[in-house]
Every structure is written in structure tokens, then in C-alpha cells.
Symmetry: C2
Amino acid sequence: MDSLEEKTVKRETIFDGKIIKLVVDDVELPNGKLSKREIVKHPGAVAVIAITAENKMLMVEQYRKPLEKTIVEIPAGKIEPNEDPMLTASRELEEETGFKTNELTHLVSFYTSPGFADELLHIYVAKDLKKQANPLQADEDEFVNILEVNIDEALQLIEEKVICDAKTVYAVQYWKLLNALR
Amino acid sequence: MDSLEEKTVKRETIFDGKIIKLVVDDVELPNGKLSKREIVKHPGAVAVIAITAENKMLMVEQYRKPLEKTIVEIPAGKIEPNEDPMLTASRELEEETGFKTNELTHLVSFYTSPGFADELLHIYVAKDLKKQANPLQADEDEFVNILEVNIDEALQLIEEKVICDAKTVYAVQYWKLLNALR
């Protein structure tokens, strides 16, 4: 597989922000020619598939500035420096939904946009969910509404493009697969 | 849902590249406080789930500079200005795999990373695949190897983290669901 490798000739840092960093690499292609690659560096994130005892998936309604609209997603958040992704998952679930879990299993991890970003998203499945009387508080610049949706409602929200992001579309398909295998 | 909206106070363009653009927005939060949002603008992309008559999925092995490694993905590519996404899908399938299709169906579209990017990825399912003697040529800075994998191989590649991006993990789960419903 090494024959496809692109060697870094030079890296220029364009922006180093609060969440992302942007670099531009000059690379040498497998045929010896030069090209440029625009790359977003991201700390990585987690997301949680949490289905309650009533067979409803916990979701959050959140305004996403890049899309200029409010969408519905499974609970998620970025990994803090040196934080174990499983702890991030447990923390974000409680902060965003008020539910705590004693049983968190890693399902899969995937790069969201390998063409231009290194963001790796870890997806966990949470079971044994308990509503907390005094849950952890969300970040001060984060505003969300909590939803509990059954599978038909989730499929309807996809139809309506209110559920419209990779991790949540993946989560609902996972739920369909679970039901199909049952 | 409007109560969650973040109003743009100011937008600063940091970088305007060949593929992505980076802007930083000063926003007014629902509680009246100010915050910043780092946003990557992307033209959007397509990906194609193509299962051959031999029940194998067409995939490409490609070096991804942001990840500094070679991974296996379903055929995909970014949308050119004013291009119909379905034409992009048909073109990318032929350029990357040498197969042409006469039957392309839109499956779903999702934002890959709604927290920091506006990239919208359209996924199509291709049927009636025909190997071309003289297929369209790929972009000059694009080097890929073509693979045809059965479902067990695909699941094994996920296990080995060689398949490790959102669209391809989604595509393999879609394939599992198809088989489960059969």
C-alpha cells in the first residue's frame, strides 16, 4: 500500500484556533509531481447511541452554525486534551441529556471527512440508562433541547432532513439493523 | 426551534483555498452572550455504494494525507461548481473504478461534521454495473487501487481499521441491513 503514499515536502500552519487547526501541506505525489493538501486538524469526538427502557433513542436538538440551522443529533462532543474517549462519552451523555449510564460499549470509530480533516469520531452504545436528578451541566456556550424518539419518529426526521448528520443517520441505521436481526 | 439560533455578528475569512474555505464567525448566543465559531466551508461531495453481479462492493484504496495513511473507501469525490450531484456520482464511479452504471438511486445525504464544517455528502446506490474498456481518467493528482470485496472481507477490513471512514462504515452497515432484510 506504500506506493500510494504522499510525502510531505513542507507544512504551513494557516490557523490555530480554539477547536480546529488548518495546515497546508506541499506533498510529493507517487508520480514525483508536487501538489497541495489543505488539512483540518481536530481533537476527535465521541457520540453515544442511547436507547431507553421504553425503546426510545436519546437525541438533542442543537443549532449548528456551519449549517445555519437547528438539527437533531445523537449526544456527542469533542474530546478534551488527554481525556479517555469513553469518559468523554459518559460525560457528554449526562451533560446533554441528563441520563447517566453504567454500561458503555465501543461500537465503531470512523473518520468523518478523510479528504480534508483528521477528525476521528468514536461511537459508543449506552445501556442501563438512569435519569439524574442533578446532572452535570453543559458547556456555557452550548444550548440544546432533549428529545426521546421512537424508531418511526427517527425515520420520519431523516425523511424531513432534521436528522441529517453522519453519526445520527448511522445510529438510526444501526437501530434498524438491531431490529431486523431480532 | 428558533430559540436555539446563533446570530452572526461578524464573519472573518481566514483562508480561501482550492477545496476548503475557513471562516470565523462572532455569534450572539441565545442568552445574549458572544462566542466564536470556527467554520470550514466545503463544496459538498458524493459517494457511491456499488455492488456487482458477483455480490462484491467496489472500493478504492487511497492515501489520505490528513490521516497520513492509506485506507479503503467506497468511490467518492467532491462536487464541481454547478454540477448535479448525481452526475458527480456517475463520473466518480467511472473514474475511480472503471465501472459505468445505468441505474443510480439517491439513498441519503448527510453532513459529515456539523460541528465545524458544512460538507454535505450525498450517497447513491449504483446497480446494473458495466466494466468499461476505456473508462474516464481520474484527476491527475489522484492515485487509487480498485478492490472488489465481499461482505465478510468488508467486515474484516473494518475490524482491521483499514475501512475507517464514515461513508464506508455506513455503506457496509447498509449492506448488512440489506442482507438481514432479505
